[in-house]
């Protein structure tokens, strides 16, 4: 992927793994594609896979009773779709829907967890990469709570 900021994505982090580890991890992945509008997963269901987007866009959403699902964030090329597979209870916190045609690498979560358990030298950097994604998304969510573009957030300092 020709992206200068690529190392900041999970795809960039994984590409920095030693070749042998990278190849073993990618050996557990398969190429998939989703048409626009396809649901990748639904909240509260078992988190058995995860994806790294190659092209296209995926929306993470939350069901709000009586309303259209609320889109919380969109993900794009190089981004990790799904981290709930790593931690109990291994259920999705949100739903996910392809916003455009999506090409992605799909990983079998159980197989990746087994691989990480057998090989902590691979498991540790992978967990770090996922933790960084979680930390960054938390930071972004907190920033949005400030409503910086809103009528109060944009006022000059007093």
């Amino acid at each position: 992927m020709d992206t200068g900021m690529g190392p900041r994505t999970v795809a960039g982090r994984l590409e920095a793994l030693p070749d042998e580890q990278y190849d073993r991890l990618m050996g557990l992945a398969r190429e998939v594609s989703f048409p626009a509008g396809a649901r990748l997963f639904e909240e509260h269901r078992a988190a058995n896979q995860f994806w790294i987007i190659k092209t296209g866009s995926v929306a993470l959403d939350l069901h709000v009773p009586g309303c259209r699902a609320a889109v919380i964030e969109t993900l794009g090329p190089g981004d990790l779709v799904g981290w709930s597979w790593l931690f109990p209870p291994r259920q999705w916190h949100m739903g996910a829907e392809a916003r455009s045609t999506v090409r992605a690498r799909e990983f079998d979560a159980e197989a990746v967890r087994r691989l990480c358990g057998r090989d902590p030298a691979l498991g540790y950097p992978l967990v770090l990469a996922v933790a960084e994604v979680i930390g960054h998304r938390l930071e972004c969510a907190r920033t949005r709570l400030l409503d910086l573009y809103g009528p109060y957030g944009s006022e000059p300092p007093r």
Partner: protein, 277 residues
């Protein structure tokens, strides 16, 4: 109608509103034409002190420049008493204008490099003349990328124009709160940085928006390898005199009305690290 001497004017010159466009529910763009003498020419990133008669005066960046013409274009968001009065102006009304003040964007320093523009909310206004300059000189710069963040799709500025920019530049837009028919990105503008196709060491960035956004964007770029002096940011403080006399806009050793509002991240970052400076 000859421009006055090249020094900024300390007294307000009367300007008449000759065009008003409503951008969003609380943002409007005005084209102002001098009633008599014109102020010296403005550069992208500079600002004027705009006086709503009987209400007060605020700093407003130029959001458009008509090359060779004495008209000024400003985009105002109604958030306080003066900006609400300016937002309420109609064609034919008159305001007082002082300026030009401050240091503008140094687009020339990006010659031969990719250009990255990151705008949050009303921060797109001071960046618009820079984007137009970049589009007007395609051979001088590398790829032009514009990343725009807004609160909601309804809060996006210059919608028709940003769509048109997409023919010659890469434009990405994201919002914090999508509306039902929004099919674009959702999330903070820094999330768009990771999708860039520029090389961090070969890019010159121009950033304007809320200060935490500037911090996040500049920080990510510098961590990725962009030299701090190639990240230009526009800062906002309480400008009053516009000429470096009153000290209201002081940020450490910098008087933003005179030495800013545009400065590079190498200079801004240590100053912004001090709380309440």
């Amino acid at each position: 109608m000859n421009p006055a001497a090249a020094r900024p004017s300390s007294r307000p010159f009367p300007y008449r509103v000759v065009r008003r466009a409503r951008e969003t529910a609380d943002v409007a763009t005005f084209e102002l034409s001098p009633v008599g003498d014109a102020l010296p020419p403005f550069r992208p990133g500079q600002f004027a002190m705009v006086y709503a008669f009987g209400v007060g005066e605020i700093p407003v960046s130029v959001s458009g420049l008509d090359d060779g013409e004495p008209t000024l274009v400003h985009t105002v968001r109604a958030v306080g008493a003066v900006s609400r009065a300016l937002y309420g102006l109609r064609v034919g009304d008159t305001v007082g204008v002082r300026g030009p003040y401050g240091v503008g964007w140094d687009l020339a320093s990006a010659a031969g490099l990719d250009v990255l523009v990151v705008a949050g909310g009303i921060g797109l206004a001071p960046l618009r003349p820079l984007i137009l300059d970049g589009l007007a000189q395609p051979g001088r710069y590398g790829r032009l990328t514009v990343l725009i963040g807004a609160r909601t799709p309804s809060d996006l500025l210059y919608r028709a124009q940003t769509r048109a920019w997409g023919a010659e530049a890469h434009i990405d837009v994201t919002v914090d709160h999508p509306e039902p028919d929004w099919r674009g990105d959702v999330g903070v503008v820094t999330r768009l940085l990771s999708r860039g196709t520029w090389s961090p060491s070969r890019v010159c960035a121009f950033v304007c928006g809320p200060e935490p956004m500037i911090h996040a964007v500049a920080g990510e770029l510098v961590r990725a390898g962009t030299p701090p002096h190639r990240v230009q940011v526009s800062l906002e403080r309480n400008m009053r005199c516009g000429e470096g006399f009153c000290g209201h806009c002081q940020l450490g050793s910098v008087l933003l009305c005179r030495d800013g509002p545009v400065t590079d991240w190498g200079r801004a970052e240590p100053l912004l690290a001090v709380k309440e400076l």
